[in-house]
């Protein structure tokens, strides 16, 4: 079956010049597949990480301690107001040079944190700053009477957040959250700038060798549409599953 597909695409190239090397050249196929998995891994790690940052940050924003509120405020402004590519370069080339490093077999300096880890850190912080504001929008939509009711039942601030405010806020802010996570999946392509071999990076290598830019562009478009489609479908079904009749009406 796989042999037949490869033969068909090889034939397509010979007869029409439409060159999908990733379907018949084993070297290109294997690195493109690795790029695909890496994009999936980047997306998965950063989605979970940035949502966690958003939940914790939004809780910190409502803290009675001014210093904690100030830290969240500065973090959000810093990461929301700077371009993600600049942030990635800053972490990978700037901050990384200041951190302690190990040594490799040649006795040369070797940074402890690699490109993939830095890409995750910077994308989590970037998307996380938006998520903080998204969760805040949900939290502020909860009527004060609801939190007061929780308080009068003896809930602590953390308990109120954990059991009352966050579950309701999540339902309200899900559409905005979906938007930001879709954006995040697309932003993972920026990792190519620090040589993380994700899908755009390997495609770039492939099309510069085989000069098949239009073909690889089509492949990239189709795969990203599919990836984002799956994410959006999952978020929508989650939204339906969480629906509380009457909330927000």
């Amino acid at each position: 079956m796989i042999g037949a597909i490869a033969a068909w695409f090889s034939h397509l190239n010979d007869t029409t010049g439409i060159n999908f090397t990733i379907f018949y050249d084993p070297f290109d196929a294997s690195r493109f597949l690795q790029g695909f998995w890496l994009t999936l891994a980047l997306s998965g790690v950063t989605i979970l990480g940035s949502v966690a940052v958003g939940v914790i940050g939004a809780w910190g924003q409502g803290s009675p301690f001014m210093s904690l509120r100030a830290i969240v405020r500065v973090y959000v402004e810093l990461f929301r107001n700077t371009p993600p590519l600049v942030q990635i370069y800053f972490f990978y080339f700037g901050l990384s040079a200041l951190l302690p490093a190990g040594h490799n077999a040649f006795g040369m300096r070797q940074p402890l944190i690699g490109g993939f880890a830095w890409a995750c850190v910077s994308l989590i912080l970037f998307a996380g700053s938006f998520n903080v504001e998204i969760f805040r929008s949900g939290i502020e939509a909860i009527p004060v009477a609801t939190t007061e009711a929780a308080e009068s039942l003896g809930y602590t601030r953390l308990q109120t957040y954990r059991y009352i405010v966050l579950p309701l806020a999540l339902r309200i802010c899900l559409p905005a959250l979906t938007n930001n996570l879709v954006n995040l999946v697309k932003t993972t392509t920026l990792a190519y700038a620090i040589a993380v071999p994700e899908m755009l990076y390997v495609s770039n290598q492939i099309w510069s060798e085989s000069e098949n830019v239009p073909e690889m562009m089509v492949v990239l478009f189709v795969i990203y549409i599919a990836l984002v489609g799956v994410l959006v479908a999952a978020m929508h079904s989650w939204e339906r599953a969480l629906r509380v009749p009457g909330l927000g009406r």
């Binding site: 070297f27 080339f93 990384s96 040079a97 490093a101 490799n104 040649f106 006795g107 040369m108 300096r109 070797q110 940074p111 490109g115 190519y192 700038a193 620090i194 040589a195 990076y201 770039n204 290598q205 510069s208 060798e209």
Partner: protein, 265 residues
């Protein structure tokens, strides 16, 4: 009527240029105009006095000397060098240009080729590598979309860490993100001549060397023949190797082989 006359005049003048022997014309005007690079150390660059110097300007000076005329250097870049030659702004082009069939259609590339450039590795002097086969599994910085990246990955098993630009790749090399930098050997020579990179070296043999050709305008057989003889004489006397030594460029296998080939003749 006027138009016709003008067309005739243009045709006549074009014919005149085509029939004049450029070699004689250069000798008559007493100046040889050569297009060279001014941004490609050590092959052609500006010295602190603002003069264009380097291996290729030296070659140009040698040609002028042979002709017994003065030399005028014109800085060119990759995007305009062929047009400068076609339009007669320069008489001769010696500007790190690879000899390709496409360019052969536009200008007359003189054979034999005078130099060659391939890919090589820039590594710290503390790193002891002796052959390309030692690269297996070694992280190597590179430039995205370089045509030799795939070959180095497939043939030698290096793990390429490719960046969008030279500055990023060199920073990554400096920070230890990779153990070597894969790039054009002649461009690495330029970096190595910078004291900033004094701790780095190019210890391996250049791979996949593509020849460089110098060029004259098409339809100038006498000038082309003269240049061909000049190149053979450079190879015979080892002049190119002398220039490599003078500009601290590692001896290239190409120049050595050409010297061997022509020294006997």
């Amino acid at each position: 009527m006027l138009k016709k006359l003008a067309a005739l005049a243009i045709a006549a003048s074009l014919g005149g240029i085509a029939h004049a022997d450029e070699l004689q014309a250069i000798k008559a005007k007493g100046v040889l105009v050569v297009g060279v690079k001014a941004d490609y150390p050590p092959f052609g660059y500006l010295n602190p006095n603002g003069q264009i110097v380097g291996i290729e300007p030296s070659l140009a000076a040698n040609v002028a000397q042979r002709l017994g005329v003065k030399l005028q250097l014109v800085p060119v870049v990759g995007a305009n060098r062929l047009q400068f030659l076609e339009q007669g702004k320069i008489d001769l082009l010696i500007a790190t240009m690879s000899d390709t069939p496409e360019r052969e259609k536009v200008v007359d590339i003189v054979h034999p080729d005078y130099y060659a450039s391939g890919y090589n590795l820039m590594v710290a002097k503390t790193v002891d590598v002796k052959s390309w086969s030692e690269l297996k599994g070694v992280p190597v910085c590179a430039i995205q979309a370089s045509f030799y990246n795939k070959e180095v990955e497939q043939k030698y098993g290096a793990e390429l860490v490719a960046f969008t630009g030279v500055a990023e790749a060199l920073t990554a090399l400096r920070q230890g993100r990779c153990d070597a930098f894969l790039y054009d050997d002649t461009a690495i020579e330029g970096k190595l001549s910078d004291p900033q990179w004094a701790d780095y070296d190019m210890p391996l043999q250049t791979q996949d060397a593509k020849p460089w050709g110098l060029a004259v305008k098409q339809g100038e057989p006498a000038f082309a023949a003269f240049m061909s003889d000049t190149i053979k004489d450079w190879d015979k006397t080892g002049y190119i190797q002398t220039l490599e030594q003078q500009y601290h460029v590692r001896p290239s296998a190409f120049a050595a082989q050409m010297h061997k080939q022509f020294a006997g003749s």
